[in-house]
Amino acid sequence: MDKRKFLALLLSLVLAAAPMCAAGAEGTGKVLRLATFSGAGDLDPAGIAIDMWTEYCKLCVDPLIRFDENGEVVYEAAESYEVSDDQLVWTFHLRENGKWSDGSPVVAGDFINTIQRALNPDNGMSIYASVLYPIAGAQEARSGEGSLDDVAAVALDDYTLQITLKAPCTYFTSLLTVGPFYPSKTGLATLEDPAWWKNPETSLGNGAFFMTDYADGDHYTVRKNPYYWNADAVRLEEIDVQLIYDQQALLAAYQTGAVHVATGLPDYIGMSYQGSDELFIWNMLTSKFILPNLNVAPLDDLRVREAIALGIDRAQVCAVIGTDYIPSTSYVAEYMMSNASSEYFSKERDPLFTEDIEKAQALLAEAGYPNGEGFPTLTYTYPNSDKDSLLAQAIQAQLKMNLGIQIELNGVEDQVYSTTRADGSYDLIRHSWTADFNDPINYLDLYTSYSGGNYNGVNSPEYDALIEASNATSDQVERNDLLHRAEQLLVGENFYVIPVATQVYICLHSPNLTGVTVNEKGEPMYRYADLEA
């Protein structure tokens, strides 16, 4: 029959086309194809510089300085910097061979361009403007009370950037890795053209690569920047960044060879690729913890909070959730580098507490609830994602089994979750915090009595004093001690927050991929990577 022949012909044509497209992507130079799971945010350092920017800036935009995996300074756009004795005036000397991808020099004005745009009261997308507030005049300019002209970030000459702070800020260099401190090309990156960042004509790079193509929600492509000061070290010709939101699709893309790198894979990949060179674990600066509402009885009783903290077997909890959850008793993210040593902050001290079920039972009995008898049924509120639901059930089972406490689970939509957390209408609530920059203060200043992120009513003058003292000293070792004492007070002594786990991203790297480095936040960097044949 003719119809059948026609169908057969059609099918074979389609089949013939399949291998052609697979071959088409490979050019002459080395093209790395990497896939990430989130296309949230944009690529404007003075805009919504979240997920998508995080990957992009490591490829295309160099900050003044950054840090390597040991927390050591790496000079990027700046060659050196010095700070005045009073810790207020920071002077950065830019590389004179620093160039944008159009060949023009990177000047101090390009850094000021981002700072000014981020602080402009007309910029409604500037979500990280507050990291600039340590700069004299910045907060006033943003709120409209002061003038942008009075912001104390000025160019002494083309290659000298001077920033004056309103008060000493010992973690100022860590802030330099957040969006608003990155440069953007003066005259091209403007508030008048809010879409400049997705147009290759205006979206220049001063880093190893520059953008050549951008398709919203789909992918963007970057090519080697021939003018990059360290271009000799760059091996790849092009990098294609694909945004794949579905984990199965991400895995399929890797397994079919459509991409060389897949980031944020399902947790079971951690098991099935265990021991393989292809498995890459990205240690996130994330902390998952339980917030007890201090205004709710019996959570106002320290013994009860301590019993809950000690009565959970975190290894068992994480075994239920998957290989991407790692047990942790630390509130400051387990993998955060210390400022005073080349170790993790969490490894510089003894654990804040040790799990001890017997002691937990004794504490609960002492508080008047032997074996959980008479203990009211508390609710545990959490966003109802797969992972958080598993976490909730595991915690519920642990508390029931170890302490005889009954917890009612209350899984809610994300939106409801954040509202509930903010207005304090919960008993126990899951909280999670991912650092914006590498410094413990990012976690610890959330629980001062006047912090907007203090959702459970922590009110400790002693704690406030420790945080204030840490902000006042310029001695990193002394400061580090103060922060340790603050964390000890918050967790180990008062159990105002109850850490449970930290998280990692499971990634796969093609065996041909070499030269991947890691920064201080545990993020993989592909700028100097290479693909071997």
Partner: protein, 306 residues
């Protein structure tokens, strides 16, 4: 006929207005705010809300929104600097409509062909076999189908690519995933209506007149058997053209189905509203087209008294 069409358009417009108001209210009644992201403190969030006028009374916001809509302005995205909702729809709709359109055509052609085959075949096992297949086609949810096809033909056999739409081969799996359900549905519809039409007196009459089998089936039987298909084709086209979150997410197609779900979870109010209105307008248009087609084929419909 004209007054029938005008009446249908009028109803469509009223539906659209109701949709706009309802979507606006529902979106703004969602708990939380769009700026509860990335460690933003409550005071920063309030700042952003004020900037976008989200702190003003709901009525005022609604009036302003409708006023802008009338000028074709869908607003800007809260989550991507410099992205207008209209630009977003313009850039994402083509991919969705292309795979949806192809799937629609494939479903019509294959569905009708399979349906006729089922109706005319004398062999019981052919009919039973096809019936089983169509039952599976209707009952297997598309996320299962999408994953299955991806794993078998993409990851396992490596016949077709699984990501994006860069070459014709990229269309095969998403289009097929989308088309399976409508193929099965149309095939079953055609089977029963075609089988029914075959037994009508005018067919016997045509046969008696000595007309060719092809002429009878195409001209006389098919035309009458098509009415239920056209009625279903309207909503079906709407269903296919407005994009499938599952298919677009699994095959990484940058389309409006995927964008819609992302926007809801990101609380990107303007994008959610813009896409709802766009999708709603498409559904209304498709139903309108189906109604008009039906009326053209069957005079009884347009003469029907209201």
């Amino acid at each position: 006929m004209l007054s029938y069409i005008l009446r249908r358009i009028g109803i469509g417009l009223i539906t659209l207005l109701a949709l706009v108001v309802l979507t606006f209210l529902l979106v703004h009644l969602m708990p939380g705010n769009p700026f509860d992201i990335a460690n933003l403190t409550p005071s920063n969030q309030e700042e952003m809300m004020r900037f976008y006028g989200l702190d003003r009374p709901m009525g005022e916001q609604l009036a302003q929104y409708i006023g802008k809509l009338l000028h074709g302005d869908f607003g800007i995205s809260f989550k991507k600097t410099g992205v207008t909702v209209r630009g977003l729809i313009a850039s994402e709709a083509p991919a969705t409509m292309l795979i949806g359109g192809i799937a629609f055509l494939v479903a019509l052609v294959l569905g009708i062909a399979i349906g006729i085959r089922m109706a005319v075949t004398q062999r019981e096992w052919v009919r039973g076999g096809i019936l089983t297949l169509t039952t599976i086609g209707i009952s297997v949810p598309n996320y299962v189908l999408a994953l299955l096809l991806m794993l078998v033909f993409g990851v396992g056999l490596k016949w077709f690519p699984t990501m994006g739409l860069s070459t014709p081969a990229h269309y095969v799996l998403p289009v097929f995933t989308l088309a399976v359900y409508p193929i099965a549905q149309i095939a079953r519809l055609v089977k029963s209506s075609y089988g029914e039409a075959l037994n009508q007196d005018y067919v016997v009459m045509a046969q008696a007149k000595g007309l060719s089998r092809a002429r009878i089936s195409l001209l006389h039987v098919l035309k009458n058997a098509m009415i239920p298909v056209i009625t279903t084709a309207g909503p079906m086209a709407a269903f296919l053209l407005t994009g499938s979150f599952v298919v677009e997410t699994i095959y990484t197609v940058p389309g409006i189905g995927r964008e819609f779900v992302t926007a809801v979870s990101n609380r990107d109010y303007t994008v959610v509203m813009g896409l709802t209105i766009f999708i709603g307008a498409l559904i209304i248009l498709c139903n309108l087209a189906a109604d008009i087609l039906c009326a053209a084929v069957d005079p009884r419909i347009r003469l029907g008294k209201r």
